[in-house]
Amino acid sequence: MNSFFALSPLLIIVFASLLVLLLDVFLKKENKNYLAYISLIFLVICGFICIKFWDKNYSYFNGNLILDNLSLFFIFILALATGFVILLSMKYISFQDVNYGEFYALLLLALSGVAIMLSSSDLLIIFLGLEVLSICSYALAGLKRTDEKSSEAAIKYFLLGSFATAFLVYGLALLYGSSHSTNISSIINFFVTESDLSIMALIGLGLVIIGFGFKIAVVPFHMWTPDVYQGAPTPITAFFSVVPKAVGFIVFLRIFTPYWKNALNTQAIFWILWVICVLTMVVGNLVALRQTNLKRILAYSSIAHAGYLLIAILARDNSSLVFYLTVYLFMNIGAFAAVIALSRKGKEYLELEDYAGIGFKYPWIGVTFSIFLLSLAGFPPTGGFLAKFYVFSTAVRQDLLPLVIIGVLASLISVFYYLRIIVYMYMKEPAREIEIAIENPALFLVLFFCLYGVLQLGLYPRNILVLINQAISSFF
């Protein structure tokens, strides 16, 4: 159905960010929290619209912007993630002295880029949305302007991110040259009908995969991840670890679902992804073992999770990919929320030794953080277990047994570094006194929501699975 309504989630987010940017001029520094409330209100409206538009399949610009259930589901989920990040930042940004209005405005603009990427099936539009997301992300990473680590994160993210962009654009040019279109379905059609594929088309697809591989941080395109995650303000790190990854995988899903189904010769691309997947799981988990900075551990853990998600892509299993991404959002943002909880004015506690004895001193943070870590490691009855279980079981059914064995071994390795944090929290004597600002209701709200999400998805996932199946089936 062609309708102007298809633009409304996007317009609301952009309007909110411009409004925040405008109001920022008039607000005093101590009143900046109002900007967060305004952003949250608009995110709620956006989420409400996503629910209203469910099953309506609005489209605009001759079908170049489609609000199918898949994109609505993810706009909702990622708006939720952005809402969590905003709640996490309310205290944090005044503690770390980054409370500018730009913070929320850039976050919302980044989300608008995400909405563009999710609701388009044209690679050029997806690229433009990706650039909106990336350019906002570069600025967000460097927002702690007095902190040298933050600027270093920004420059590393910027240089490697735009390097990847160049690959993506060149790949797009080659795909355009061979199929005379930038629309995903016509490109895939070209791959299907052409029996004798030119080398140009294959290189083009490869370059596009490299370009997105940078964004979702798979090995060997992961070099920027730990540094950027460590240097960026922590709520922004939570944003980076969830949102660009989720969108990148949705784009992969949109490209590869028709590709696996129809293309005559999928072997080359399949094996490239296979190797990337194995490398991502093994390297991500092994390097995480020798990290002592919490943000770096979580960075490598997010790389490893990209590996498990790639198994779902290779197993052609869309619903468990979507389920995994949903669970991953709750457990990862929850883990970062616990890390953010351990901070006070002008100080963050990020080293592993700081966590010694936290479990008894701040029982709530200790318990929730442990549950998130157990979920990331894949212990039942959390959502992380079910997500891994679904991915691995369909992979076995698709004859990807070697991949599953490597995946299970890699997640066994990962148990070590997740449990090490818990061991530090409960079984080590505190080496130094740490003091945190405990009154932070917004942060505890996020911790509670994430805890609820992880347990709900682990114990009773039926409702969400029904939704996910509707989302997936609409897209075929």
């Binding site: 050029l124 690229f127 600025a139 040298e148 680590k149 910027f158 735009s162 160049a166």
Partner: protein, 100 residues
Amino acid sequence: MIPTNYFLILSVVLFVLGAIAFFVKRDLVTQFMSIEIMLNAANLAFITLARSANSADGQIIVFFIITVAAAEAAIGLAIILLIFRQKKTIKSEDIKLMKG
């Protein structure tokens, strides 16, 4: 008329040169310039391929890419300026606070 293949080869050469320069050069601004060269190589490829396919799409896409490159230049130069203010240098080997 010059065959379109020549332009394609030129764009590949430009792209590869840009990629090499990105790794060889040790200066943030030069590294950023090499990325711009890679983007422009893609632009050249787009125009060439649009020409050989007799369609205008590719030429219009170039405008989008130029805009994106301009936005990237704005934010990138701002970040490089920030680095220079803090460290008084823009050599990439001096940016090594975080490792591992």
